[in-house]
Symmetry: D2
């Protein structure tokens, strides 16, 4: 990946991929969001019955599965962004800034309970 950005390279590749197959009809934002959600669940499934510790050290086969599912999530996300004209990188930068304000270091640092409570409190906004 020399000059251009990773996200843009993938976006362009996916656009060609869908056009070659005449899949634009199926790629409505609603359908793409469904597909993304299905892939996220397939990723989750890789960790389903593992302990937290086991989840940090998957064996080679599981690791391969995990990488494929993570790739699927990213690909559908980039494709959805393309169909809606969303700048993913800008959106992500902006969301980090929002989170910085929402979870100030001095308030949430190193406190499991606080973290959970804050999540609870934060949920309405998260769903917004």
């Amino acid at each position: 990946m020399p000059d251009t950005d990773a996200l843009e390279t993938l976006r362009a590749a996916l656009e060609v991929f869908a056009r070659e197959r005449d899949w634009e009809t199926f790629h409505t934002p609603k359908n793409l969001a469904m597909a993304l959600s299905v892939e996220a669940a397939e990723l989750l499934e890789c960790f389903q019955w593992l302990t937290p510790e086991e989840s940090a050290a998957p064996d080679a086969k599981r690791r391969q599965d995990i990488e494929h599912e993570m790739a699927d999530v990213l690909l559908y996300l980039i494709r959805l962004a393309d169909r809606l004209g969303v700048d993913l990188y800008a959106a992500a930068r902006s969301k980090i800034e929002i989170n910085r304000v929402k979870y100030p270091v001095e308030r949430v640092r190193g406190q499991a309970r606080k973290y959970n409570e804050y999540e609870d409190y934060a949920q309405p906004d998260d769903a917004g």
Copy 2:
């Protein structure tokens, strides 16, 4: 974003973000995969009752929500990749090549029915 890559910039920012808050304990791969899956569903919720056509032209408020949820998905995905040492870009490139073989143009082009059947064929045991 001048010299460095978007994904790497975001990865580094999230690493600092979590370290400052002592959230590494919570950020097991299993928990991050759950969080990613929850955010994917919140994204899906934005499109839930829309027709396919409406989903392609969300109003300004909904569009803002969609961008935030897409950002959340990307951020958790990058964070998960970092915790597992996965190169997201390489994984995505490799998955596109796999899909190229799995869905050859001459076989699936412009055929809604074929597309559905192929999906079925590709994930025959999913429903088991």
Copy 3:
């Protein structure tokens, strides 16, 4: 199903099923909620690329898949309820009453736009 209730019959069968296999260890509420979420996505996958109309008339093979996935969702839900001591039927009755107040007939009746807006408005609570 003669004298006893469907939900109780299934609950009892699942309890025996898990005990016989020594699966209680894996069946923490957190893991069961994950499993349920994965099954819900597998159900969603059955409808993924269908039009709304097609989704109402699945062919025989797809219909079989759908029934299996719906069963999986119900089974994990009942198992989760059992582990937490939740009375599913009472919870469902109570939620219908809450929804009756939340979505008054005269306000939401037959209005697609209102429905969507209301959903939007309702989201913060839904996530609560």
Copy 4:
């Protein structure tokens, strides 16, 4: 709930609920499967950052949230079954029998590793 079955009582109540609001149009199987999947994720969110042990003993507020989300999952599942003419109880009974064959006691009993491997074996193409 004296004479009739819990699932049938809820089904009938939901049918009236949707008809009173003219929501049948929105309640395509595809949309209902999406809604169910979103509710399953909201349920998952209740357990997101908890340890396995904490997830088994939620405090009163969280428990209330969990019950509401479980109810939402059940209600959408029953509504979907109604729209497709699926007998949920029969489907669940039949799925338990399938699982009995798929996970024989002597093979999977009390073995975490076997359990995981078997899951792998059972859904080999999921990660594809």
